[in-house]
Point group: C2
Chain length 202, copies 2
Amino acid sequence: MAEAEVRRRPGGRSARVRAAVLDAALELLAAHGLEGLKVADVAARAGVHETSIYRRWGTRENLLIDALLEATGALTVPDTGSLRDDLVAYATDLAAFLATPTGHALEHTLAAAGDDPAMREARDRYWAARAGGSMQIVVRAVERGELPDTVDPRLAIEMLVSPVHFRVLLTREPIEPGMPARLVDALLGGIAVSRPPSDPAR
Amino acid sequence: MAEAEVRRRPGGRSARVRAAVLDAALELLAAHGLEGLKVADVAARAGVHETSIYRRWGTRENLLIDALLEATGALTVPDTGSLRDDLVAYATDLAAFLATPTGHALEHTLAAAGDDPAMREARDRYWAARAGGSMQIVVRAVERGELPDTVDPRLAIEMLVSPVHFRVLLTREPIEPGMPARLVDALLGGIAVSRPPSDPAR
DNA sequence: GCCGAAAAGCAAGAGGGCTTGCGTTAGAGT
DNA sequence: ACTCTAACGCAAGCCCTCTTGCTTTTCGGC
């Protein structure tokens, strides 16, 4: 997620401008929110001409994606030795991230992003990295014998994380603290069996 | 979803303008896509002044939501007597709808929509209607004894539909024909048990 | 039929995203 | 050190969303 930075030379003019612009974008994003961020303001704060931004990034959207992906570290992939605990921790972390201004902005920008080749590649890389990390939770559980090797790690992770994204992006309902655990229990045991009374909430 | 239309009088000027604008918007949406739709074009095609649109709807976004929700019938809620079949059919229908231009546009517009009170109310009504219908699948299964009454219908439906939305909005990966069935099997039985070899795809 | 209010028509314009043509500057390679 | 080129600075302008002040039409109630 942070692979640039050593593009040509750390102190080259290009790198300097790039860093200044991305920093400015993130600061203004935190200050004025996603809608309030104007390219002209970013340019002014970065001490750079607006045209330079458009020449390099092309669109406001591209700039946002670049800044947000650079600012977004990978989610930590827990490894407690317990599948259930790992999944609950991961979902909880994700929900917490999506509740931050940066997470919220990233989510909405990704959802609104277009389909040009460059954007497609950035998106694919991002999700591949996310999936690669989180699927380890499932892979390790299979290795430990906690899960049969017939499970599809990708589908399992999708079923875990997508309800969280769903609420943030579409229904906009809050994610109660107990939701990750209920999600994981349903995912592991299936809804056809009654779940253990393991959630105080709701 | 289609509750207006008898606002003041079917032939009143307001109603006429409203209908003309929404029709024009949907036609242009189908013709030029979500990004290609311009308010001025809608006004021209509807034979209406652009100002009238902005006076009534306020923003392009509101216009889109109004047109799309009006054009979107409720998804049919299957009732085959088998929970598994109902869920698979529902998820398949949803995926098919989201693959249509209208569905795609609705999905993205909803995700991008803001949080003003009017929008919030429209969104809540939409999702309440969707949830109300789809949760019946689960409720009926409980009544039939196919599921214990400890299941949370809302969570179950969220876990069913959100991976579909997730792919459409965020990862943009295609939804393979076999996905709904695999989703339902994982949801019903849990990933901890090996699934029956019931999917030819993948 | 008449009248008051609500909605539509109209013109003008502000603001932000994005583009283009041209001159200027800085840094990478030799 | 010198040049050649990629990147930036700058000015001007287009397009689209959205706003505002005022006039004109139309509809519903009396």
